[in-house]
Amino acid sequence: MNDSNLQQQLTKAQETIRELQQELEETNKGLIALNLELEQRNTELAAVNKELEAFSYSVSHDLRAPLRSMDGFSQALLEDYTGKLDKQGKNYLHRVRSAAQRMAELIDDLLALSRVTRREMKHGTVNLSALARIVAAELQQGQPERQVELVIAEGLNVNGDETLLRLVLENLLGNAWKFTSKQPKARIEFGVAQYDGKPAYYIRDDGIGFDMAYVGKLFAPFQRLHSADEFPGTGIGLATAQRIINRHGGRVWAEGAVEKGATFYFTLA
């Protein structure tokens, strides 16, 4: 290779370096601008969240007051005008009271659901086994007469937000507890299985189960497969659990059969 050839190649290399340097500078400028935008968005988001929180609190507080009036004066009628009301009249007033109380429950549940969505996640190691044991103990304490066999797998540690994951367990274990309440003895199991190479945590019960034909409705808010007389609840529990699992990057699904119990699975990212 002769001198001028080398010279040419050197010049070309230097040019390329200059071009690359320029590109790098542009990219850096772009990144700085993006970062700034991101910070601004974060500040806005924090402000919006704060407003939403104040709004929800105020709304739920203000919505409860008229409910108290409806419930209170219906009861006042039942007590003070009992002689002037026939059976049908009293029945109507009972329904007014029921409806007011039900709306109060719905308000509480909606508030909880919206909090779950807005809450900042605090990531850490969470011992799901220990959490499950605590939740189960609370359930048993609430109804000491229930005979429930609880099988909780040990050492299930995951990465996530402990408060939110506790809510998931309270929901899923609470459901298992609730829908096995019509039988003298129940069995509830909490463990882990493998699904598509990832761990899937499950809560299995041997209770009233559900028809797989309706599995699509399970997680929709306020959708229930049983009447409030059979089993209490507003139908927001599973929607809340699903939202939390989604925020963790996982998914939740269920399998069941009528009178043969149900199993709820969830994965985390």
Binding site: Y57, H61, R64, A65, P66, L67, R68, S69, D71, G72, F73, S74, Q75, A76, E79, R97, A100, Q101, A104
Partner: protein, 149 residues
């Protein structure tokens, strides 16, 4: 005992009506002074404005204080009465529909003696009013210089 006065600070007229009814139902016939907002409550307690002619030595045996009030809110009323020489020892029961932990913390921090949540269910509400009335008017000893002549 009968001369013990309750100061009810509540802006919702329905809640006032339901509270008075509950007290009556449970044979609690003590005088109830109703203040419909925080400013009125302070005027009563400090015997100013609309209550300038009131004998300031007579104090309520208990104050049932709602938090969300027009003009001056409940926590501010609490703050000011805990700062006043004649009013700082008065028993205050915060009665509110708020379930917010911050309200609990703030109320107790400012010196509330008790915090009771107003349930939507009237039967529970009535029971709560009864217990409050019986406890604070009969069982509890109010601070001295509080009973009427």
């Amino acid at each position: 005992m009968k001369s013990r006065v309750i100061l009810l600070v509540e802006d919702n007229p329905d809640d006032v009506e339901l509270t008075l009814r509950s007290l009556k139902k449970h044979n609690i016939s003590n005088e109830v002074v109703v203040a419909h907002d925080g400013a009125e409550a302070l005027e009563y307690l400090f015997a100013t404005g609309a209550y300038a002619d009131r004998d300031p030595k007579i104090m309520p045996a208990v104050i049932l204080l709602d938090l969300k009030l027009p003009k001056v809110d409940g926590l501010e009323v609490l703050r000011r009465l805990r700062a006043g020489e004649r009013t700082k020892l008065l028993p205050v029961v915060v009665v509110t529909s708020s379930k917010e932990e911050q309200d609990l913390i703030n109320s107790y921090s400012l010196g509330a003696n008790s915090y009771v949540r107003k349930p939507v269910d009237f039967i529970q509400f009535s029971e709560a009013v009864k217990q409050l009335g019986l406890y604070w008017l009969l069982l509890n000893e109010p601070p001295p210089a509080c009973e009427g002549e």
